[in-house]
């Protein structure tokens, strides 16, 4: 029988904290600002886009204690159970000296109005811990989730390049308390389930995946919260009730990735950041895509499982996974079923997930040697923007140069992530030539009738979607990238 506790435990800056009065929908940001008067952390947008609320969350992983930047505005307080929360107030040394990140920002004139600055400091701090001598590309990637309206970013990037000349990571405040924090976080992991509150405020933190299965069987309509990059907005923007909420991001079993017989298995709670290396090493096209999902904070929180489970028509991972023929394993209690990923999406906002079921893992076949695979995401702003249209292409050519098999899937073109079945049919068996491609463009009209919205017009979506096939053809036949790029190819 699982032990049940009614208290979450975490470290806040230097102090071990235990709370039994936590609401399911209480955000970490409100807790910090309203209950702890830690007002260095700001609210800019309450939707995880501007980064003014950036804090670090340290958690124990198989690789030890790691710190990641997250958006406190959409992170739920309950989900920091077992973690170390670090705010900007923690950076200053005992002697009042500025932290190297802070001093560099001051010296390079990295702040003007200053409101976004604590968030930038925290994002740069996370980067610095990971990579003390970052490239400009590393810095820009780490700052995709931080908006500054004053500086134009130039002085901030210059400051970031200089941090290492101000101090060393191993003599830094978090390095100094590392052993103590690790001990504390290990002690928090006592194998108990946490349940707090009643009715509209109830939250559950299962002890394990087995326990999660049991909890969901008992409460099949509970809101499952993994990274909260979607559910967080249900609360902050729409004030929806989410209780009872079941937090799952801490479950180690759901963070695992593995590869067997050319199939990569991804646990439901694997974050974009965690998935990056596992996927992009074997399927290089995933790297640039993941780099353009959200900002760093969102990639640290958001999960591929959640991106699928919530069924958004503009979720970025389903189309490329569908093009690869990925499958989804859903679990209810002790029973499991595995379906083709594309079959999971029934209609807008409607997925094939039954009460009490949860997404356990995604299995992704690695494309065969010699096949062509590409993913193209179109947005208004290149980085940290929600997709206008996204195309994923997986092409197998026969020895004679004809299309042996092709799987094409799009996001942003229909009410769900969707395969371009008519286009595929128009290509299959034909020579992989520009004539074939041009002739297949008509078939888009059979597959898609996209909408116009604030991200793009229907006309643009159709035109650009077709042009992505042209681009795919050009790239597969020329072997070089036919795209504008900020960074030289790695």
């Amino acid at each position: 029988m699982t032990e049940i506790r009614s208290q979450i435990r975490f470290m806040l800056n230097g102090v071990e904290t235990a709370l039994s009065d936590v609401r399911a929908d209480e955000t970490l940001l409100d807790y910090l600002r309203l209950r702890r008067s830690l007002r260095g952390t700001k609210e800019g947008c309450a939707e995880g886009d501007c980064g003014a609320c950036t804090v670090l969350v340290g958690r124990l992983t198989p690789d030890g204690l790691i710190y990641e930047s997250v958006n406190a505005c959409i992170r739920f307080l309950g989900s920091v159970h077992g973690c170390h929360v670090v705010t900007v107030e923690h950076l200053k040394g005992q002697d009042g000296a500025l932290h190297p990140v802070q001093q560099a920002m001051v010296d390079f004139h990295g702040s003007q109005c200053g409101f976004c600055t604590p968030g930038f400091v925290m994002s740069l701090y996370a980067l610095w811990m990971r990579r003390a001598d970052p490239t400009e590309a590393d810095i820009e990637k780490a700052l995709q989730g931080n908006l500054c309206r004053c500086t134009g970013y130039q002085p901030i990037v210059k400051a970031a390049l200089a941090i290492s000349s101000y101090g060393r990571v191993d003599s830094d405040v978090l390095a100094g308390e590392r052993a103590r924090v690790e001990a504390a976080l290990n002690a928090f992991k006592d194998g108990a389930r946490v349940e707090i509150g009643q009715d509209g405020q109830r939250l559950v933190i299962p002890a394990s995946v087995e326990d999660l299965a049991a909890v969901l069987e008992a409460e099949p309509t509970a809101t499952i919260v993994a990274g909260a990059t979607d559910v967080g907005l249900w609360v902050t923007k729409f004030m929806r009730e989410i209780a009872p909420a079941v937090f799952i991001a801490h479950l180690d079993e759901l963070h695992a990735t593995s590869e067997t017989d050319g199939v990569i298995s991804i646990g439901a709670c694997v974050s974009y950041t965690e998935a990056f290396s596992a996927l992009s090493r074997r399927i290089p096209a995933f790297g640039p895509l993941i780099d353009r999902i959200g900002g760093e904070q969102v990639r640290n929180m958001g999960t591929i499982g959640g991106n699928i489970a919530n069924g958004s028509p503009i979720g970025d991972t389903p189309p490329p996974l569908i093009a690869l023929g990925a499958t989804l394993t859903l679990r209810k209690g002790e029973s499991r079923r595995t379906i083709a990923l594309e079959d999971f999406f029934i209609d807008y906002g409607k997925q094939d997930r039954r009460p009490g079921e949860f997404v356990e893992r995604i299995d992704v076949p690695v494309p065969d040697e010699g096949t062509h695979y590409a993913v193209y995401k179109l947005t208004k702003r290149r980085d940290e923007d929600i997709t206008a249209a996204l195309g994923a292409f997986h092409l197998t050519l026969a020895a004679d140069g004809t299309v042996a098999a092709v799987r094409i899937a799009y996001g942003g073109m229909a009410a769900t992530p969707k395969r371009a079945a008519a286009v595929e049919a128009a290509l299959t068996g034909k020579p992989w030539s520009s004539e074939t491609v041009e002739a297949a463009l008509d078939a888009y009209g059979k597959d898609f009738a996209p909408i116009s919205d604030m991200r793009a017009s229907a006309d643009y979506r159709m035109l650009a979607a077709r042009n992505l096939l042209r681009r795919f053809h050009l790239e597969t036949t020329s072997g070089v990238s036919v795209q504008v790029s900020r960074y030289e190819a790695a």
């Binding site: 007002r39 260095g40 609210e43 800019g44 947008c45 939707e47 705010t87 900007v88 500025l98 802070q102 001051v106 010296d107 004139h109 990295g110 003007q112 109005c113 200053g114 409101f115 976004c116 600055t117 604590p118 400091v121 820009e140 700052l143 995709q144 931080n146 908006l147 309206r149 004053c150 500086t151 134009g152 970013y153 130039q154 002085p155 902050t236 004030m239 193209y376 179109l378 947005t379 208004k380 702003r381 290149r382 980085d383 940290e384 923007d385 929600i386 206008a388 919205d453 604030m454 991200r455 793009a456 643009y460 035109l463 650009a464 042009n467 992505l468 681009r471 036919v482 504008v484 900020r486």
Partner: protein, 781 residues
């Protein structure tokens, strides 16, 4: 303990005087999270929170309004409507009485505030707001000036016409003529700190309002007006804003007024901080424009006559649309001389939020129209746009009269552009790009160099005044206050530098204090790039008054003539001896010398007769030039800015570090306006881009890959401005025009530069791709 004991009494130069690269005075607080914004202030006991209830139709009369469920919601203390304003339910900044605090009877845009909930917590107030039941009798509405007869639409304020010569005749007689229309999008300010006000009731009629505002005096007047009390009852204070950009010039009034009304009614402190969506929905933005133009020119590309019609989406009320659309006309010339010109504005009524001030204040829109005209001429003649630009530059001794009949006396654009053309290797890259494009079918590159001239002064002459208050304490430390507000632009540190310079004391002896209407009255908005020009002069005047008194005192006490008294770093030479500054002030105090003074400044020379369209509205002009290179993907419209080179001037800079920050930041903000920042209204009149998830300002990774910013070190202000420095707040914003034109140039490459792409703004990837398609269709490429 006199801190001056630690000041360096042998220094040859003070720390932090003018023309030094001081850091922002709050930088160390920004990075540690200890800089206090209004929402960070310790909250008064019993603080209540307000939330706005917004209309859910774009235009309609209110048939019935049922707020009973709102009132009954948990934590709700009170609900206010427009009928609850004790004085006047009006916050129109220009006295036109066309903008209610809370709408009564009729709503005129989707998202207009109709009621306000006051509750124990912010969350309770937000939740309760959603329980209102309001029944509207919906009326037809228009959100976009594109859809209306722009010459006959309803106006929110008086239009303006600028005229010199007979434009129609000149165009008619010209060898070549072009006519066209351009669309330009608006822009949300996206200050990181949203609107916020905290009102603390006092005794009698008094109330103190902490307001995130660029214009404390106006907030004071508006709060007094809405409360029906004299201005003396209202004190408005602001230490710093988390960004303003014009969005807090008038837009804070509503929040301040509501907080004050609720605080006085309930006898408790009230805070109102709208969430980002409400902030973006219910507050004004940059005006979007449709610009009709017709130009006559000769075969060499010299403009002979031009006619502009600037139609602006103003929203439902006038707000600042009059002066904004006026300023668009004032910049329809940019750096170009028009032998004959007519420019007309149409500030049009729409059922959208009332548009307002935004960095550049109509100037950017005015210039963009004229740069389009230059591009049209270049394409028509098959010439490089830079040649056409140069050909039409204002002269220095002739061809130098503006459409508003002011003579340009300080023109330095020729040298700036020549230097930038050279340093950016414009000609070399022009050839390299042509070669690249010849060999690249999908990716095309583009290059453009655009000049800039921006008029400095409020066009409303009476705003060109400022006050300051300086106290010198007996220990020699200085308390500085002035009418300008700090929104990140570094105004406070610049003014402190000026005061430190005046007293010849280290800048750490000068305490910068929050702007408050109780210390310096009747101030102007910190706007129009005028912050340091005006307040710097006022603070300098106040400091000089005290310095003169100290001088008089020293002369008398030590029996030396005035000319033997000299202010040296942290000390004063009196005859043959040197006395520490703090010691002299101590002696002066003991001798009962007044060590406090006010200072005042009004800009000379400025005058403007709006009825005649003639005058000298600008004290001087600021100049700059920028060059951008871009790559576009002609299959998707995606692009990157490969490189930008900027050469800008700020006279004899007070603080180069701060000025460069303004230039870099202004450029990126301008680039956002012209590229990815798009405001979208749907068919219900709803703004759909009301949060950063849908409204895309530039990121670090949108910066030009190579970004060279240089301050021209040779210009100095033509007029005796403070230490011969020049304004820098707004002008750099318009440097970003080069990005739009570089994108246009890349699109034009698809058709071998034979047709003008007429690329409108914002040039989103979608607009770029559609322009590519247009050029392809026109040229058969």
């Amino acid at each position: 303990m006199n801190k001056h004991a630690t000041a360096d009494l042998k220094a040859t130069r003070i720390l932090g005087g003018v023309a030094t690269d001081q850091r922002h005075d709050s930088a160390h607080k920004h990075v540690t999270g200890t800089a206090v914004y209004i929402d960070d202030m310790p909250e008064p006991a019993g603080l209540l929170h307000a939330c706005l209830g917004l209309s859910t139709v774009a235009h309609g009369t209110i048939r019935s309004i049922d707020l009973s469920a709102v009132r009954a919601a948990p934590g709700v203390i009170d609900v206010l409507t427009g009928h609850d304003m004790p004085g006047s339910n009006d916050i129109s900044p220009t006295g036109r009485a066309d903008e209610p605090v809370l709408a009564t009877g009729i709503v005129q845009f989707f998202g207009q505030p109709v009621f306000a909930v006051i509750a124990e917590s912010r969350e309770q107030a937000r939740r309760a707001c959603r329980l209102a039941k309001i029944d509207y009798d919906e009326k037809p509405f228009v959100t976009d000036v594109w859809d209306m007869d722009r010459r006959a639409g309803k106006l929110v304020t008086d239009p303006l016409t600028l005229k010199r010569g007979d434009a129609a005749a000149a165009i008619e007689a010209a060898p070549r003529r072009i006519k066209g229309t351009m669309r330009l999008g608006g822009q949300d300010h996206f200050y990181l700190e949203g609107q916020i006000a905290l009102a603390v009731p006092g005794e009698d009629m008094d109330v103190t309002v902490f307001s995130s505002t660029q214009h404390p005096s106006e907030v004071q007047h508006m709060v007094a007006h809405v409360l029906g009390v004299p201005s003396h009852a209202v004190t408005v204070e602001i230490r710093r804003m988390g960004g303003g950009f014009g969005g807090k010039e008038t837009q804070g009034n509503q929040f301040a007024a509501l907080a004050a009304v609720a605080a006085k009614k309930l006898g408790r402190a009230v805070k109102i901080r709208p969430d980002r969506d409400d902030d973006m929905t219910a507050t004004g933005k940059r005006h979007d424009f449709v610009i009709d133009y017709e130009v006559g020119f000769d075969d060499e590309g010299t403009i002979l006559g031009v006619d502009y019609f600037y139609a602006a989406r103003c929203g439902f009320s006038s707000d600042l649309s009059g002066p904004v659309t006026d300023r668009a006309l004032f910049h329809c010339d940019n750096t170009y001389y028009y032998p004959a010109v007519r420019a007309q504005s149409a500030p049009l009524y729409t059922n959208t939020v009332s548009n307002t001030a935004f960095r550049g204040f109509g100037g950017p829109q005015g210039m963009i129209g004229c740069e389009r005209v230059v591009d049209e001429i270049a394409f028509a003649l098959g010439k490089d746009p830079l040649d056409i630009r140069r050909k039409n530059f204002y002269g220095t001794t002739d061809r130098n009269v503006t459409p508003y009949h002011q003579t340009v006396e300080d023109n330095i654009i020729h040298r700036l552009v020549d230097e930038l053309e050279e340093s950016a290797d414009y000609q070399g890259r022009r050839r390299a790009i042509a070669d690249f494009n010849a060999g690249s079918s999908v990716i095309k590159r583009g290059l453009a160099l655009t000049p800039l001239k921006f008029g400095i002064s409020f066009t409303a002459t009476h705003f060109n005044q400022a006050g300051a208050l300086v106290h010198v304490y007996a220990d020699g430390s200085v308390h500085l206050n002035h009418g300008g507000t700090e929104m990140g632009q570094g105004l406070y540190v610049k003014i402190a530098q000026i005061v430190a310079e005046e007293f010849q004391i280290d800048i750490d002896q000068v305490k910068i204090t929050a702007t408050t209407t109780g210390k310096v009255p009747n101030t102007s908005a910190t706007a129009a790039s005028s912050g340091s020009d005006l307040n710097g002069m006022a603070a300098q005047a106040a400091a000089r008054t005290i310095r003169d008194r100290l001088c008089d005192f020293a002369a008398e006490k030590y029996g030396v003539p005035h000319e033997q008294i000299e202010f040296l770093p942290n000390r004063v030479r009196v005859g043959n001896q040197e006395i520490a500054f703090g010691e002299l002030t101590q002696q002066a105090y003991m001798a009962r010398v007044q060590l406090s003074a006010t200072g005042f400044y009004k800009t000379p020379k400025v005058r403007w007769d709006r009825d005649k369209g003639e005058g000298h509205p600008f004290y001087y002009f600021a100049y700059g030039a920028a060059c951008a290179e871009v790559s576009i993907d002609t299959l998707t419209g995606e692009y990157v800015v490969e490189r930008t080179d900027i050469l800008h001037e700020t006279g004899r800079s007070l603080n180069r570090a701060i000025d460069i920050g303004q230039i870099e930041g202004g450029f990126i903000q301008g680039m956002g306006w012209l590229t990815t920042e798009e405001l979208v209204w749907d068919d219900k009149g709803r703004l759909r881009t009301h949060a950063p998830s849908t409204y895309k300002i530039p990121l670090a990774s949108d910066r030009p890959k190579i970004f060279n910013v240089t301050l021209a070190d040779w210009p100095e202000a033509h007029e005796p401005t403070v230490h011969r420095s020049k304004a820098v707040g707004e002008p750099p914003f318009m440097l970003a025009m080069c990005v739009l034109h570089a994108l246009s140039d890349a699109v034009a490459a698809v058709g071998d530069h034979t047709v003008c792409p007429r690329l409108d703004a914002p040039a989103t990837p979608e607009r770029v791709l559609m322009a590519v398609e247009r050029v392809r269709a026109q040229t058969g490429a």
